[in-house]
Symmetry: C2
Amino acid sequence: MPICPLVGRSPSALALCPPVRARSKTNDLTGSIELAGGAMSFLRNCEIYGEGESADYLYKVVSGAVRTCRFLGDGRRHIGAFYLPGDIFGLEANDEHQLSAEAISDSTIVVAKRSALITLAACESDIVRQLWTSTAQELERVQHHMLLLVKSAQERVASFLMEMAERLPMTEAMELPMSRQDIADYLGLTIETVSRSLTRLQTRAAIALPTSRRIVVRNRAALSRLNA
Amino acid sequence: MPICPLVGRSPSALALCPPVRARSKTNDLTGSIELAGGAMSFLRNCEIYGEGESADYLYKVVSGAVRTCRFLGDGRRHIGAFYLPGDIFGLEANDEHQLSAEAISDSTIVVAKRSALITLAACESDIVRQLWTSTAQELERVQHHMLLLVKSAQERVASFLMEMAERLPMTEAMELPMSRQDIADYLGLTIETVSRSLTRLQTRAAIALPTSRRIVVRNRAALSRLNA
DNA sequence: CGGCGGCTTGATCGGTCTCAAGTACGGTGG
DNA sequence: CCACCGTACTTGAGACCGATCAAGCCGCCG
């Protein structure tokens, strides 16, 4: 894991980017978070928060991409989620983060103090409802991810591609922000197996790989057929 | 899958058991649910709700045990969770159930109309907060389960045993309500692998198996050492 | 040009699945 | 009481998928 010459490690650090109003309407909290917080920049591979730290803040991706991850005892890494622009992360059941969060690429993140939102919620009761909604969405995402993990390697990679095809801005091809290692840890596979699955999908003409991070979905039906 | 000579399939069916006040304090919703709903009985292997049905109700286990599950395209079954007395289930991100729920053993379940709770929430704003808390707990549980699924078979079974040891009433030994097939589908393994893992734990003196459903944890440290 | 990191490809190993018996237990009927 | 049965569980042998180990390849940057 590379060293992080990071810009802001703690949420009190200098905000390098002005808040950007997102066009995404996926989450109602969006506005509230931006009201309550400031924007920060994180360099590639920098930690945004650590596993076990107290979950005092909520985060929203403005640009870039974020992974949440956790190391198992034997050094293996598990990635719980990828967050793309518009996504909210940092929601926890307890006051402690279960996984740590890291920037996958240079990213701008809006940070809001959780307690500030709760205070806001006292006046506008809708905020609690919105926090609940966001948590429920996260729950659904994790449930879906759980289903992934009981499938075969080929199925997992196909599912991953379909997920990304929905979430990434797509013009013909999509540009993956994450490395093969990230994908492997997300899917519970090795990089070799991920790579082989991708080339196999390519030879079957389901996808094309102009470059290793750029993927064209040629046959969406073939992909979904692999989803078990 | 056996046929279900079930007592109540829809929440409007006759409640055979009077509401029982639970001593569990694991969830604040507990009281509200019981206020808003009535108790029902479900026989072993009966469906409580189906995948895709609208999620109009919340449920609380009074006695017995419940599994939520989903069938994959090729017939494999995935179990998302086991719910024991005191647990709340049926919370969803959307208005549709992602998985179906079935009674593992004859069970008594308290059912509350979701809309009734939301109405209640209009007066007592705490209810929304409690719904949020329950959802967050569920999220944490699923995250934990996700971590399970990337471990080895031996680790998964050991983790499962430790989870059950915490949740089941224990006096020396614990009595599992679920079958080996249930465990296998919960852990993403086959019954044979589950069985082999258990006997291996027994030969290593980590557990004892007086009967197949009754398990004594002999060496908790040995189990947790296997958790990776 | 050389070197390095990220990715692909190949050969082998091992863990889990699959298929197939064998065993323990509970219930039912004689 | 036992004989019988069906279900749930265990155990064994072999196949297969994905991990591991080990080269090679590619793009990028100095």
